[in-house]
Subunit: 142 residues, 2 copies
């Protein structure tokens, strides 16, 4: 579930290994992706005492050591996911609210071109595209 080296990564960053950190990491692994609140809910299925602010603090730490990332997929809370997941792009439908994922490879040619032209290096896992999913766009065209 959670790789063997997560402890290494934390220690290398000067952080301690705590049950809360492990639980947060495992919760993300199980959920695939989730907001801080959702992650807390998942963590609390195992340990009810864990606090929201602990989740926030640990998400920050886990992100700093490269175990998780987050993407902003809408007006509300960001979504966190494990770094070792296959890298994907979020497609957020602003009409029905659905969030789909697609393999990030599809964007590589574009992002390469972008880097060539501007020097900008895109964090692929952080990409969220807004628009309309196929269902909603055909409904509004009809």
């Amino acid at each position: 579930m959670v790789g063997e080296d997560w402890e290494q990564k934390l220690r290398r960053g000067g952080y301690r290994i705590t049950p809360q950190r492990q639980l947060v990491l495992e919760a993300i692994g199980r959920l695939q992706h989730g907001t801080p609140e959702e992650i807390l809910a998942e963590v609390q299925r195992t340990a009810t005492g864990v606090n929201l602010s602990t989740v926030y603090r640990n998400l920050e730490v886990l992100e700093e050591v490269g175990l998780v990332t987050h993407a902003h997929i809408g007006h509300g809370a960001p979504t966190y996911h494990a770094v070792d997941d296959h890298v994907h792009i979020h497609l957020v439908c602003d009409t029905c609210g659905d969030v789909a994922s697609i393999d990030a490879a599809i964007a590589e040619p574009f992002l390469d071109e972008l880097r060539r032209r501007t020097g900008f290096v895109t964090d692929v896992s952080h990409v969220a595209l807004h628009g309309q999913c196929s269902g909603c766009s055909s409904a509004s065209t009809a």
Copy 2:
């Protein structure tokens, strides 16, 4: 500055023409892009009495009738801009915080491909890419 048909667009949507709506629209035109707070500040250079909640309500209305759009470029407040601006993509540097703009045309081939493969229709003006600008990425590679 503000096109001639903005009144038309509002009326067609069933909305009234008010000084506040005009001021918000003009402020966005002058700023090119800005958060609700920044737009309020610009509006208040002309009319001090205008309220933040009025700005929020009018941004929503102006967006609904197609006069402005917004993009989320970071953890904080969204950025609004006029629709008749040349359409651009935001490149947000997560290291130095700089936000660059680039003509959206560069993404068209990718977005076309995306639509072909998934049916997802992307709102181009709403795209914000996170990563590192050329300065920061060469600094961290060096």
